[in-house]
């Protein structure tokens, strides 16, 4: 998926998210995927980075429950998710108690309406 970028990678990424599309980059030269969005490939230095839609599936690499008082919104999950394309991102696994999020769990990305935030939900019954 090509996006005519007239702004930097970060703004391009955010603009796509606002339209509900979660994109990562793919290097045409070294064939590796890149996240977070960059101007040059961190693997080979190439300027030839193309936008693409990831499969959206991934695996929880690590997870923590951030403790917060109930009146401030209660505990929440912060996880690192490895997308199947081989890139890692910080995110939140939703739809379950934060303490039930486990390393190794298979998850699928979802762009939150309104906020444009990429979050993840557990796939089926987990691993």
């Amino acid at each position: 998926m090509e996006i005519k970028a007239t702004v930097g990678a970060e703004a391009t990424y955010q603009a796509a998210l606002k339209q509900g599309r979660f994109l990562i980059q793919h290097c045409r030269d070294c064939e590796k995927h890149v996240f977070y969005p960059r101007e040059i490939c961190p693997h080979c230095g190439s300027l030839s980075l193309a936008w693409m839609q990831p499969a959206g599936t991934g695996t929880v690499y690590s997870t923590t429950t951030v403790r917060r008082k109930p009146d401030a919104g209660g505990d929440y999950d912060v996880s690192l998710v490895d997308l199947d394309e081989g890139v890692r991102m910080m995110s939140r696994v939703i739809g379950m108690a934060p303490s039930d999020v486990k390393i190794g769990m298979r998850v699928r990305a979802k762009v939150m309406d309104g906020t444009g935030l990429v979050v993840f939900e557990m796939i089926g019954g987990g691993q």
Partner: protein
């Protein structure tokens, strides 16, 4: 010329800490100035002798300017690189290079923070920092940093190697037991493994006792070339090895959460010193969180990767254990004023001078100091120090 040629060419000849714990009514620069003066006195020098400055602050982007003006220095080396709490360990190498090149003759490394008692609150400072230096791909998920990043690291280490919360608690309890032998330490009340396990959770698997203190404090030390150090009033502590490594900034940018850049900085520093972990009499890690000490022991080669948990079991790094680690009580129980690196160096120097009273490691001739910085073990700086006997 190689790094090896610099081995032992420079010594730390004056040290001081001040305001460890609470120093109400003092500003960062006031604490720093008092520590600087005391360190220079300890070296038998005056501030007018100082012609090299290394300093950094989390609150001012051009901090060396503040220090130069306040102390009215005219330094020929001005080194303000800030890689987080490891900075003051990392400053050893540029100071060594400048001293050896004859650019300057006496370098002051100094730091001060009144973060605990400052009237301008920690919360506001944190918000201001996030505004000036955003993390657009992490901040929306509200990690409570730095604890959440180290929690993610700890969780992965536990998953991969079977490390337990009890292992982490061993680190906290060992630090407290050392602190109980150190009159300067801020937290000296009894602490048990059960206390740590039952404590309020901050970001799982880390409880409040797995996190370093939030204190005031200032630290300073003075470095000169070795030939000059021999004639000074305190026994010189030589820099035998120094290396720094930075691999990432954020936890999401860390390739393997169980391996820190200490793997690289440790290997390089030990190679420069011509020594290894088995040759070390004292170990000062930067225990921002309990997991840090376990990672440092593994990455520096005191045990194999994944065996840091079992390594610290049964009081192994506490007083009377097999390896003296963080003998001042560390960031967990002695002092942690935002950035701790200089305090770790100074505790190593005091051990090598034999100034540590009840907590003295008898006959200590070598020490390794491992600085940690950033919100996710992002920067690591390793120093190997030794007495004249280790040269």
């Amino acid at each position: 010329m190689s790094a090896r040629d610099l081995r032992g060419s420079v010594a730390i000849v004056g040290v001081a800490t001040i305001g460890c714990g609470e120093a109400p009514g003092y500003s960062d620069i006031e604490l720093l100035a008092r520590a600087a003066k005391a360190a220079v006195d300890d070296a038998g020098l005056t501030l007018q002798d100082i012609d090299g400055l290394c300093s950094a602050s989390l609150n001012a982007a051009m901090w060396p300017l503040n220090v130069v003006e306040y102390l009215k220095l005219r330094p020929r080396l001005i080194e303000g690189t800030n890689i987080g709490g490891a900075a003051f360990v990392a400053h050893l190498m540029p100071a060594m290079l400048a001293l050896n090149a004859g650019v300057c003759d006496a370098v002051l490394v100094c730091y001060g923070s009144s973060q605990r008692t400052a009237t301008f609150g920690r919360k506001e400072r944190g918000l201001a920092r996030n505004l000036l230096d955003p993390s657009p791909f992490e901040a929306p998920y509200e990690p409570m940093n730095p604890p959440s990043s180290y929690a993610l690291i700890a969780a992965r280490h536990m998953h991969q190697y079977g490390t337990t919360r009890r292992h982490l608690a061993e680190v906290a309890v060992a630090a407290r037991r050392w602190a109980q032998l150190n009159p300067e330490a801020f937290s000296r009340a009894p602490l048990t493994i059960e206390d740590v396990l039952k404590a309020r959770m901050i970001s799982d698997p880390l409880s409040i006792h797995d996190c370093c203190l939030v204190t005031d404090g200032a630290a300073a030390f003075v470095m000169v070339r070795a030939e000059r150090a021999r004639d000074m009033q305190k026994a010189p502590v030589y820099v035998l090895g120094s290396a720094t490594a930075v691999w990432h900034r954020q936890v999401s940018g860390m390739d393997d959460l169980t391996v820190t850049p200490s793997k690289e900085s440790g290997e390089r520093a030990f190679a420069m010193a011509g020594l290894g972990p088995r040759d070390m009499h004292v170990v000062q890690t930067y225990d921002a969180f309990t997991i840090n000490t376990i990672l440092a022991l593994e990455d520096l080669g005191f045990c194999k990767k994944g065996e840091g948990g079992p390594f610290v079991e049964n009081g192994a790094i506490a007083p009377g254990g097999r390896l003296p680690v963080n003998t001042n009580g560390g960031g967990l129980s002695c002092v942690h004023p935002n950035m701790y690196g200089a305090f770790a160096i100074i505790e190593a120097v005091r051990q090598l001078r034999g100034e540590c009273g009840e907590r003295q490691v008898k006959g200590a001739k070598t020490a390794v100091v491992n600085g940690n910085g950033g919100v996710a073990a992002s920067s690591q700086s390793t120093a190997i120090l030794g007495t004249e006997a280790a040269l």
